[in-house]
Symmetry: C2
Subunit: 180 residues, 2 copies
């Protein structure tokens, strides 16, 4: 599965006003706390990989913890990378497993996310602690050959929201936080 | 939490006949499939650590997957080591996370386990594919200072089952399988 994800800085109040006009459907909001790890045997910033434990809490109080590996970018034009993710029972214990193996927690990114559905796209309004406000448009495709048309569609969604695809930012929230 | 675990080779038919006499209560049986991983940055056989994904299925069809880190032995007299474990949602995806990070599946140990409770001890009758039959007696203590009396108690349980604590084997099923 390949993820197409395009992110631009945005004034979330303005975007919210347009979401209804384009026919996007609200699908809920969550608070996410993501801890990223450094590896003992290679530099993830050099290899462009990431290892993350995410703890999520929705407005209904539901939540869960997942571990995610993100591979290097496979496509330069958008932030497209292979992802593997599975649920874990206990965030602290998963952290202890990784720490015992020599991985080290590098930084924690906390954000509030409001999600909307529009056709096959998910639109996410992110308010990231100590970083700022961003809109992400994303979708998944099973086949690498479908990436380009999926990316064009994501650009179109941004334009309908009054945003400019040329503002696209390939920097992750983690990198933005570390630069802040 | 420290685990005290004493393991001896045994004829399981004979042990089963004595379990009722000593007042042990059957608590269920499971099939476990354990995949052990090699690390990319250190030799777990040299550091005496282990990283495992366990998939378990009980006779009632219930099951689950866990990831476990086992630290080096902290006590030479019995197999006592620090363990960290948490549930994971999907064994194949957890395997893919580890494999992407450079860990490699080294071997898979499959066994049927029948468990019994006796006071604060768990007695486990293990029939291990390609390895043989063993009895494990184990318990957990919160404090390192309680290890010695817990170990003495485990030896006592073995003797009541007609087994000899001097037959204690510190070799793991993984090592026994790799030697087989």
């Amino acid at each position: 599965m390949y993820e197409v994800e395009v992110k631009v800085p945005a004034d979330l109040e303005r975007v919210r006003a347009r979401l209804d006009d384009v026919g996007a459907t609200p699908t809920g909001s969550v608070v996410q706390e993501d801890t990223y790890y450094d590896a003992p045997h290679r530099s993830f910033s050099a290899t462009d990989e990431a290892l993350r434990i995410r703890t999520e809490r929705s407005e209904t109080g539901d939540g869960g913890t997942h571990i995610t590996y993100k591979g290097p970018l496979v496509d330069d034009e958008s932030k497209t990378r292979e992802e593997v993710e599975t649920a874990v029972g206990d965030a602290e214990k998963m952290d202890a497993v990784l720490t015992n193996l020599g991985f080290e927690a590098a930084a924690t990114v906390r954000k509030e996310r409001e999600r909307f559905a529009l056709d096959e796209y998910t639109i996410t309004l992110d308010s990231v602690d100590d970083v700022g406000e961003y809109v992400e448009v994303e979708t998944e495709v099973a086949d690498e050959r479908a990436l380009e048309s999926a990316r064009e569609g994501a650009y179109d969604v941004l334009e309908r929201l009054g945003l400019d695809p040329d503002d696209q930012l390939r920097t992750s929230y983690l990198e933005l936080l570390l630069e802040a």
